[in-house]
């Protein structure tokens, strides 16, 4: 497993799409706060307010959409390039191959998901003069949850990136899925009472509660942390079974 992880980490580091996405997000994180210096604004926002209203307002889109692009290039392209054939015939079990890839893809997804909360917050703090910083507890709570949910969504993406063998199809499907999935899930929860608790306690719904981290009670915290973890394990299991049975073409 160690060999597989090292190899996947090497590939992630050298993946052009990962580098481009990371550079784009970093550029946005560094430049976006400068818009607050627009002359029409009455004054500079506090860092706490900026973190809550600007940085965390886009985190759900970043977690769900940006790693979808990485999934297409980092995972599905292994099929179209033919490199998956040499990985599978390298003398490693398919389950290990799948989980090594899932772990490193999740690492990539988490890195991309954390660029805005880390760099944008840091940049805004410097630009706005460290004016009213968010509490360290709240900041660490939200950053940890973003990492957790990033990994949870990555494990769902990995299933579809394994089913498709064309990067374009994977990216297109995942972007559409994550852009539109909330509406059918809401309808399903409303129409079928059996699904209601499942959907309300899924990563798709709970990801929106990250901004409320400071107001969660203990049981809500347990749910908030366990759900992405179970999603990661469950999706990993489903994906690895699919990969085990898949004919590599």
């Amino acid at each position: 497993m160690g060999n597989l992880l090292k190899s996947e980490w090497f590939k992630l580091k050298n993946d052009q799409s990962f580098r481009v996405l990371a550079i784009l997000l970093t550029t946005v994180a560094l430049l976006f706060p400068l818009l607050e210096f627009d002359g029409n604004q009455p004054g500079l926002p506090t860092i706490r307010g900026y973190y809550l209203n600007t940085v965390l307002s886009v985190h759900t889109d970043i977690i769900k959409l940006i790693p979808s692009i990485l999934a297409g290039f980092f995972i599905t392209s292994e099929y179209s390039l033919g490199t998956m054939k040499s990985i599978v015939s390298s003398g490693n079990s398919r389950i290990r191959v799948y989980f090594a890839k899932l772990i490193m893809f999740s690492v990539g997804a988490v890195i991309l998901s954390l660029i805005l909360p880390l760099i944008m917050t840091g940049a805004s703090a410097i630009y706005f003069g460290f004016n009213e910083m968010p509490s360290l507890t709240f900041y660490l709570q939200t950053v940890s949850l973003i990492a957790f949910y990033g990994a949870g969504f990555a494990s769902i993406m990995m299933i579809f990136a394994t089913i498709f063998t064309d990067s374009g199809k994977t990216i297109g499907f995942l972007l559409l899925l994550f852009l539109l999935v909330d509406w059918p899930l809401q309808v399903l929860a409303a129409k079928v009472p059996f699904f209601e608790p499942v959907i309300h306690n899924s990563v798709f719904r709970l990801v929106y509660d990250i901004t409320n981290a400071s107001q969660l009670n203990t049981s809500e915290w347990v749910t908030m942390t366990l759900v992405p973890l179970l999603t990661f394990l469950g999706s990993g299991l489903i994906g690895s079974i699919l990969f085990y049975k898949k004919e590599i073409k």
């Binding site: 060999n3 190899s7 050298n14 040499s86 990985i87 599978v88 003398g91 490693n92």
Partner: protein, 307 residues
């Protein structure tokens, strides 16, 4: 010690209604260069994919280095190097980076093997050039370099000389021969370029419509493809006596239809015809015949197709 690197037992693979591989029994001895011949869609790649674990057989079994269980086969595949349906490369990486990704995957300690392998295939001077900018020949050589990482005992090469220029073909041929002779690597090679395969392989397997129709050694193939003088005269028995007494040879065969196959290549057709005529025989047909691998393969496939 196991004499065979690969053996299959009634190996079959069915895709919906198509029988891609039908009860194939193939055996590859250690140290052999096994030329795998077949038309497109004959089942070559299907068999290679089953051996490499990319697909599972519908029926039958395969034995790799004596191992048969699925768990053992996974481990045993560490002893093989592969190129399956073209070289598998990361286009945005350099040659050395491509090898590094595969070195880490195979768990090979030390980076020395990368330079050594690049030198072996003549790609040591590619520097920072990315694989996507390589010529087809360079990509093929990098694919072979990846297959060679970790000193495999068995190389499986599916069309490794596709797209190579004549010099590239010669280089790859001599490299494969060197690997086979000096490093004792067994090689399974499938190729459409039969003339090239004939210069390299020590054993052959001919597959058609998913069925292995023949397996033979180079010696057996040469015997079957041997050049001979086809002679048809009015009296074959007398002709046989003349050939034996005049040319001091018994290396000929009288066929059931009365024609004679004379295998001795040192006797020119002109001299044979002159001698037979001088002995009062009437020559109905006399021609130099023989087959190369290409015509032999065509006849075998044709025989199956029309048989």
């Amino acid at each position: 010690m196991n004499e065979y690197v690969l053996k299959t037992n009634h190996l079959s693979k069915k895709y919906k209604s198509t029988m891609a591989l039908d009860k194939v029994n193939i055996s590859i001895k250690k140290g052999a260069i096994y030329g795998f011949i077949g038309q497109n869609g004959a089942g070559k790649s299907t068999l290679i994919r089953l051996v490499c674990g990319l697909a599972r057989p519908t029926a039958g079994s395969l034995e790799l280095f004596g191992d048969t269980s699925e768990r053992a086969l996974i481990q045993t595949r560490k002893r093989i190097g592969t190129i399956i349906e073209g070289p598998a490369l990361y286009p945005n990486m350099t040659a050395a980076e491509n090898l590094e990704a595969h070195r880490l995957l195979k768990g090979i300690p030390g980076k020395e093997c990368i330079e050594k392998t690049l030198m072996l295939v003549g790609l040591q001077n590619t520097g920072k050039k990315k694989a996507k900018n390589f010529s087809l020949g360079m990509k093929q050589r990098l694919g072979i370099a990846i297959a060679l990482l970790g000193d495999p005992e068995f190389l499986i090469l599916d069309e490794p000389i596709n797209g190579l220029d004549p010099m590239g073909v010669v280089e790859i041929r001599s490299l494969l021969r060197k690997l086979n002779e000096e490093h004792d690597i067994t090689i399974l090679i499938s190729s459409h370029i039969l003339s090239e395969l004939h210069l390299l392989a020590t054993h052959y397997g001919i597959i058609h419509n998913g069925k292995l129709i023949e397996q033979l050694s180079l010696k057996e193939l040469n015997e079957k493809c041997q050049q001979y003088l086809h002679i048809k005269v009015n009296d074959p028995n007398k002709a046989a006596t003349v050939l034996e007494s005049h040319f001091k040879t018994t290396n000929f065969e009288v066929m059931p239809n009365g024609s004679i196959k004379m295998f001795d290549p040192i006797n020119p057709p002109g001299e044979v015809s002159q001698t037979l005529v001088q002995q009062g025989l009437v020559i109905e047909e006399l021609m130099l015949m023989g087959e190369d691998l290409e015509t032999y393969f065509s006849h075998r496939i044709g025989g199956v197709q029309h048989g």
